[in-house]
Symmetry: C2
Subunit: 260 residues, 2 copies
């Protein structure tokens, strides 16, 4: 398979850097091809702004409307070259690994800005569903459908505190905006994340376990059972895109969007 | 009150910009003082890197460990001047408004990078609890305790799709990493967020309603009932920081961290 490895840590000589090396070596040994977006090493610009869209100045300085400007720039081929280079890598990839340390229970800004800038309208979303006028292809269908996505995170927290009733919030739900709201939204097949806990003080034996887990997970990236998120257009949601009352009856919150 | 308004939209002439102007005017009319962090206008740098910490190069180029480097730089007064300027505004503030468009179900990268860079160890977290050796003051206690925080978001989604069973995830839970994992974590008093839905095509009447809501919410920022998040050190969590089994028995997910 063709695997794009997106890496968002400022220090190569870190736990994240070591794990990346392990994962990439395992992919190569298994015969996969790997390309890289090492965001810090690339000096990736995280901020969406007017410069992304390569528009000639209008009669005056027109108001910037991000979604329409990005769609137009994508259509006209005027997106900034660094964005187009990332899209070209994504086009090539059958699977994407997204690796980062959990900072404030989310992605480092540099990685959030990779999604903000690369996943533009017309490239990653915004295609009308011919079967449901007024709906777009999202959540299990869409322009990135067919690609697999694996999130790899390190967290300072011990595992119980990121568990189903842990104080930091259940990791699967804390990552919902990425796993469901971004990757599944664009149609990708989302695999259960790999998490390394207690990352600030990992003893050697636990490092070996984490490395072994990562090697196993990246080499099986093509056939791991994905998270069972519900499809938007599969009949589970009503016309307002609210889960039908007979499914997970009475329940609320993020867990209802997983099919049993 | 002293209010710091953090604004993360690239276009002043946007729905977000107009709402900000309404909110700021209402604060002034009510006699509050307001300072601003308009992140795009400031050219805010979102990316945590070695330059933040003002360290002289060591004997060789030492490995960067973000938490310890940031704590050391905060202690020694060598944090980059743009970070110290934001901390000085936060020190001044009794309340903080955080206003942004919801991009990929989270903050724009420029705002995520404000937290990543400003909320460093020793400034926003990392103080040992004298009452619980081995624990730090977090979640309802901490270095930013006493300050109030109000999140103001615009979302393209209609309200039902961000509701308790809506396909995009319940907004309160989608924002959990910010509301609970960042603001409550540092001890702040977190108010229910203000959300403006259908933001891509808001008719004038709905704009007026949104502006009225925002004016009401910012002028009552000092006495709005906060979200009832559980305190870490209030007895609800066990030694592993897992919610005690007699509280919200059998339930999992983010909702368990709200007290009834």
């Amino acid at each position: 398979m063709n695997v794009l490895w997106v890496f968002a840590h400022p220090e190569r000589r870190s736990l994240n850097g070591s794990l990346r090396d392990e994962g990439v070596r395992a992919l190569a040994d298994a015969g996969h091809d790997c390309r890289h977006s090492d965001l810090y090493a690339m000096g990736w610009k995280p901020t969406v702004d007017r410069d992304d869209f390569g528009e000639r100045p209008g009669p005056s300085d027109d108001r910037l409307i991000v979604t329409s400007a990005s769609r137009r720039a994508h259509r006209d081929g005027t997106l900034s070259p660094d964005i187009r280079a990332e899209q070209e890598k994504l086009d090539w990839a059958d699977a994407v690994v997204l690796q980062f340390p959990l900072w404030w229970y989310g992605m480092p800004a540099i990685l959030k800005g990779w999604f903000d800038r690369v996943f533009v309208k017309g490239y990653a979303y915004g295609v009308t569903d011919p079967g449901h006028p007024g709906r777009t292809l999202r959540y299990g269908q869409g322009l990135l459908a067919g690609k697999r996505a694996l999130v790899v995170v390190t967290a300072g927290s011990p595992e119980p505190a990121l568990g189903p009733r842990g104080i930091n919030g259940w990791l699967d739900h804390v990552l919902f905006p990425l796993l469901h709201g971004t990757l599944w939204y664009t149609g990708m097949t989302v695999l259960p994340p790999v998490a390394v806990y207690g990352a600030d003080r990992l003893p050697p034996r636990e490092y070996e376990e984490a490395a072994a887990l990562l090697r196993e997970r990246v080499t099986s990236i093509g056939d791991t059972e994905p998270l069972p998120f519900r499809f938007q257009n599969g009949g589970d949601y009503d016309d307002d895109l609210v889960l039908r009352p007979d499914l997970a009856p009475g329940a609320t919150g993020l867990g209802v969007h997983y099919a049993p």
